[in-house]
Symmetry: C2
Subunit: 130 residues, 2 copies
DNA sequence: AACATATATAGTATATCGACGATAAACGAT
DNA sequence: ATCGTTTATCGTCGATATACTATATATGTT
């Protein structure tokens, strides 16, 4: 009987509008959990332009491998691909990351409190007096 | 000849001060890439208090499994554990996440541009006219 | 000393990830 | 219709991740 056995809306194929559940957060984080994918995001950031197979050259991995990374990024909703057969133009889709950033904001707000009040996020260890 | 073959400072055991490289981003993201770990973070957020094995009850996994998740979170620097043998008091350590959030901020700033200027982050797919 | 408590570690089985080459699929151009 | 280009998918592998049980470790209590 877990506390958060919520079913992700995105896991059901529906678009996520506002608050993300643990599953969504984890999915986005997993998409960001590989250097090559961060590199791809950075590339899309710097060029601010739609790139096709140029990504393959920059990343330096096999085309199939890069394609898989792009698939993962697309599946998480971080990027989207505009199809212009046979090319695909990838671009950042930051909307999805907004809520993810909000989640991090919660943690960092807690940090702000902790800076003001000593140890706001946790109490001192209780003595073992039972 | 990749664009970012930077060596992470944290990967060399040194503390990361300001800008994170792809490796660092990926490492933090990986720590966030499991629902159980998000759940643990949420728990530490909501209770704002030091919890020991209570985490095990909430998460609903085996004690050893939760211990492993806590180890991963600790290794990433997201949480820290205050040892009061035999208990360990865990608390959020948001400093590490600051730069991670900054990285997301880059992407979301790009989003702000995109809202103002039509398609600021990528150009429309060029017609295949070669 | 023996016990209870809280956490970490070892060992193990299974699942997923990440890389590759080979191949398929979709289209424009010849 | 065939060829070249670009992207996606398949099949495979080694490595890593995740879960469990069992056991070890450390400490306070009786």
């Amino acid at each position: 009987m877990q506390a958060s056995t919520q079913v992700s809306r995105s896991a059901k194929g529906e678009p996520v509008d506002s608050n993300l559940v643990d599953e969504d957060i984890a999915l986005i984080a997993k998409a960001l959990s590989h250097p090559a994918r961060i590199q791809i995001i950075r590339l899309l950031l710097s060029k601010k332009t739609c790139i096709g197979g140029d990504i393959v050259d920059v990343v330096g991995l096999a085309q199939s491998t890069v394609s898989e990374h792009l698939r993962i990024l697309k599946a998480s909703g971080i990027i989207s691909g505009e199809i212009t057969r046979p090319r695909v133009c990838y671009s950042l889709n930051p909307l999805r990351l907004n809520h993810f950033k909000d989640f991090l904001g919660l943690i960092l707000d807690c940090d702000a409190e902790a800076s003001a009040v000593e140890s706001a996020c946790w109490v001192s260890p209780k003595k073992n007096n039972n």
